[in-house]
Symmetry: C2
Subunit: 127 residues, 2 copies
C-alpha cells in the first residue's frame, strides 16, 4: 500500500490516504444529497460483505419531509459519491428514480429487500 501525497486547497501537503478513510460509525449519520444539492436523508447504516469487507449497500433513512417516517432505502454503494465540499454523500440519480426505489420498514431482514433492490437498480432508466 503506497503513500500518496497531494497538495490541499490551502497549500499544505497531506497524505492523501488519510482522507480516504472514514470510520464506520461516522458514515452512519452522514447526510446524503441529491444531484440538485437537496438533502434527501442520511446514512442509517451500510451493508458490508463479512468476508471481503466490501460495502455493498448504503441504507438511507429519511424523516417526515416526504411524508414517510422511518423508512429505509438501500442504495448500491457505487451510487454514492463522497463530496468533501458538502461533507456528505451525493447521489447522482434523478429524483423520480430515487422516489420510486424500494424501501422497507425498520429492522427488516436483508432477505426481504435484497432481491427487489438489486432488480430495481439493475433496470434501465426509462425517460
Amino acid at each position: 500500500m503506497g503513500t500518496s501525497m497531494h497538495t490541499t486547497a490551502d497549500g499544505t501537503v497531506a497524505r492523501k490516504e488519510t482522507y480516504d478513510l472514514i470510520a464506520s460509525n461516522k458514515v452512519e449519520g452522514t447526510s446524503v444529497y441529491d444531484r440538485a444539492g437537496e438533502r434527501i436523508g442520511e446514512v442509517h447504516n451500510f451493508m458490508v460483505d463479512k468476508v471481503s469487507g466490501q460495502a455493498a449497500y448504503a441504507v438511507i433513512s429519511f424523516g417526515g419531509f416526504l411524508g414517510i417516517g422511518e423508512d429505509y432505502f438501500p442504495l448500491p454503494w457505487n451510487q454514492l459519491s463522497y463530496d468533501t465540499s458538502v461533507g456528505g454523500y451525493v447521489v447522482d440519480i434523478d429524483r423520480n428514480r430515487l422516489d420510486g426505489a424500494p424501501r422497507y420498514a425498520r429492522d427488516e431482514a436483508t432477505d426481504t429487500w435484497r432481491g427487489s433492490v438489486d432488480d430495481y437498480w439493475a433496470r434501465p432508466v426509462l425517460i
Copy 2:
C-alpha cells in the same frame, strides 16, 4: 451479481448472499477471538475507504483484562475471519504478536496511527 444457493446445516436451502452481508452497526460490538478461542475484545468500529467502500482496518477495543483500559488497536481487515460458529471474528495471529501491536487512545486521528500500524503488520514474523 449472481444469486448463490447453498444448503445450511439444518437442511434448508438459503440464499448464500444474505449471510454474506452484515450491517455496519452490527459489526461494531462484535466479539473478536484469538486462535485459541479466547475473547480478546470487540470491534469498536472499522475504517472504510470513502470512495471504494472497502474496509481497511477493524479497530479492536479491549477492556481491563489486560490491564489496559480504553485502548484501541487497528488490525488490517484481512487479518479477521468471520466465524459463524462463534458469531464473531477470529484473528489467526500469535498472541505475542497481537500484544505487541500498535494501539492508540480513544479518538486519536487516523493520521497518528496508520503509518505504525501498516509498518507493524507488514513486518515479517520473528519466531
